[in-house]
């Protein structure tokens, strides 16, 4: 029996090894598809449960219906799913999420971009080699630890300086959030700045520009896409972060635009209520609807950031001579 087959290059290859190659390939392929399937499964499962939520509660109830407030006669948006007449308005939760995420993003963009510029353009290489890993290390600190520190130390500092309307408030949470986003923004900004070829800097210097002019007029405009992508990613992380807002915002379901008042975010609502909710109740599906919305929001933000970064890379290729 002939155990060998001829390859196109006239070389004998044993059938066994050909079969092994095929088997290995399909084994890897299987795993690749399992991963893809898992991601699709998460999406479809969340979508399915969220649709149940939409059917039982309706879009109008989620976004538009106002209910009479318990304390005054005015009509307000309320999230109060456990009352005898459950209210499922997502408006206060969305505002709560934005009220914590946007200040956090603003604070951390200022710091993150400044550190990115400093590390990439100004700091000497030795200092950068130490500072960059140190700041990156901070993105790995468990968020529950930051939440704990906000409750033990942050609360007194913020209380002494700003005398907020409530001890636990959106501002306190956004301070904590900015600490976890600063490393993200720093890293991405620094990467974007460093990907700009040195020739451009040298050209600017040779035209008589000083360091500051080079940074503000040449380097930063060229890297602005990377910086904005990092800000978008930071915003996505701030909206999705759970433990810090759960611990530091106070979780009041009232609508407010005062940053020093207690708010309730989308993530904290899921975290606080999912444990007690009974399966297949409207409340259960409402929480899935929130989860699905978070999924979609972060998906879109990530996609935008992804597109910006790939566009920047394409743009930078033009400089490569």
């Amino acid at each position: 029996m002939n155990k060998n087959i001829n390859s196109p290059y006239n070389k004998k290859i044993s059938v066994k090894s050909v079969l092994l190659e095929k088997a290995v390939k399909y084994f890897f392929m299987l795993n690749g598809y399992v991963t893809l399937f898992l991601i699709l499964l998460i999406f479809i499962f969340l979508l399915n449960e969220a649709m149940h939520g939409l059917n039982t509660i309706t879009l109008g109830e989620f976004f538009f219906h106002k209910h009479q407030s318990a304390v005054s006669s005015s009509y307000v948006y309320q999230w109060y799913p456990t009352s005898s007449e459950p209210r499922y308005s997502l408006v206060p939760l969305i505002i709560g999420s934005l009220l914590t995420a946007i200040p956090a993003t603003i604070i951390s963009s200022v710091f993150g971009i400044a550190i990115g510029i400093y590390l990439s353009e100004i700091a000497n290489p030795k200092l950068r080699e130490i500072l960059k890993p140190f700041i990156e290390l901070f993105s790995s600190i468990p968020t529950v630890v930051l939440g704990f520190l906000l409750l033990t130390i942050g609360i007194t500092i913020i209380g002494d300086i700003f005398h907020p309307a409530s001890r636990l408030n959106a501002f306190l949470a956004s301070i904590g959030l900015s600490l976890i986003i600063i490393p993200t923004i720093t890293t991405l900004t620094e990467d974007a700045l460093r990907s700009i070829p040195n020739d451009i800097r040298l050209a600017a210097y040779s035209l008589g520009a000083n360091k500051w002019q080079t940074i503000t007029k040449i380097i930063l405009p060229a890297a602005i896409n990377g910086a904005s992508a990092s800000i978008i990613l930071g915003l996505g992380r701030a909206i999705g972060e759970t433990m810090i807002v759960l611990m530091a915002t106070g979780n009041a379901g009232e609508i407010t635009i005062n940053i020093f008042k207690s708010v309730r975010t989308m993530t904290a609502t899921i975290a606080a209520e999912m444990g007690e909710v009974s399966q297949s109740s409207p409340h259960y599906y409402a929480l899935f609807f929130i989860g699905f919305s978070l999924f979609v929001i972060t998906f879109i933000l990530n996609l935008i950031a992804d597109l910006i970064i790939s566009k920047m890379k394409l743009h930078l290729k033009k400089y490569d001579i």
Partner: protein, 328 residues
């Protein structure tokens, strides 16, 4: 290379306004950087300063008893390690294998792109959403159906260590896949081509050329995944974390004559990160328990930082070796 040459250029640049602007701007950037670095240092120092007093063997090994003076976090530490171990067991094989498929085998560029985008997005999904998925899918769909199929009563259809690990495994899957993909792509094409030229098959190239060199990089990703999983509290909030567990949930695995005690994956468990959350928000008298809270935080943060620093060192070495290989 840095451009301190700007100092020389400044002498040519006569405008005083520009000179002031430059120095002022750089001082502000430097200040902002050091503010953040100092805040981060302050956080680490304060945790170590306040937490180190209560770290004793008793604190590390004892089970919780309700009395803070005699309390320990031994069960929480073991629980965290058990969850991380099971998580890695579930996530690493599938993560590494699918990364190899994407980098080495997938020929369809479009499919590759779709997988890449979806993995990147999976990495950005809020961790609480994974918790929601874990409870809704693993516990209430998979677990309940296993129970009905095997008629085991209520064994799998409840929040437990197994489902918490599975959920965290999905959470860290992107970390593992992305780092594996990166380290595979770093292996230079010349080496693959040289091996092909010597008559090696694809599988031989992967097994003998690519994988051994990419191993440190892959290990980096795995270690980072452990540190991420061990620190996440949000997804396990409603997946079987217990506030108070006086005994380890042991079960006995019978192998021949021996019966080996293992942690029962179908039971509740204690988790350091969850413990921190619970102590910080629901402690009946915070004044007495505060040092112990700092102690717990210190242990958690040390665990995470040790893993992370190891990963950073690994990555550094990996890149250095590859740089040596690639520069002929």
């Amino acid at each position: 290379m840095t451009y301190n040459s700007s100092k020389i250029l400044l002498t040519k640049n006569k405008s005083l306004k520009d000179y002031i602007k430059e120095n002022f701007g750089i001082i502000i950037l430097r200040m902002l950087t050091w503010i953040v670095v100092l805040i981060f240092l302050f956080i680490i120092v304060i945790i170590f300063y306040n937490g180190s007093d209560v770290i004793t063997w008793r604190f590390l090994l004892n089970p919780p008893s309700g009395d803070p003076q005699k309390d320990g976090i031994g069960i929480a530490i073991i629980g965290t390690l058990a969850v991380s171990f099971l998580m890695i067991l579930l996530a690493v094989p599938i993560g590494i294998l699918s990364a190899i498929y994407i980098v080495e085998y997938a020929e369809n560029d479009r499919l590759k792109k779709i997988i890449r985008i979806s993995i990147n997005n999976l990495a950005g999904v809020p961790s609480i959403v994974f918790g929601l998925f874990g409870l809704g899918f693993f516990v209430l769909v998979v677990g309940k159906n296993i129970d009905t199929a095997l008629s085991t009563g209520l064994l799998f259809g409840k929040p437990s260590l197994l489902w918490a690990s599975a959920t965290l495994a999905i959470l860290v899957l992107p970390t593992i896949i992305v780092s594996t993909m990166e380290s595979l792509e770093r292996i230079p094409a010349e080496q693959r081509n040289a091996a092909y030229g010597l008559g090696a098959s694809k599988w031989q190239v992967i097994r003998k050329i690519v994988f051994p060199q990419a191993r440190p990089g892959i290990l980096t990703g795995v270690i980072l995944a452990i540190s991420r999983g061990a620190g996440e509290a949000a997804p396990v909030l409603f997946l079987g974390c217990a506030f108070f567990l006086p005994h380890l949930p042991l079960t006995y695995l019978n192998v021949g004559f021996f019966s080996i005690p293992i942690i029962n994956p179908a039971e509740q468990f204690m988790f350091l990160a969850y413990n921190v959350f619970n102590l910080a928000t629901q402690s009946p008298n915070p004044e007495i328990t505060l040092p112990y809270q700092y102690g717990t935080v210190l242990i958690l943060i040390s665990l995470v930082l040790i893993f992370n620093i190891t990963a950073v060192i690994f990555r550094y070495k990996f890149r250095k070796i590859l740089d040596e290989v690639t520069t002929f």
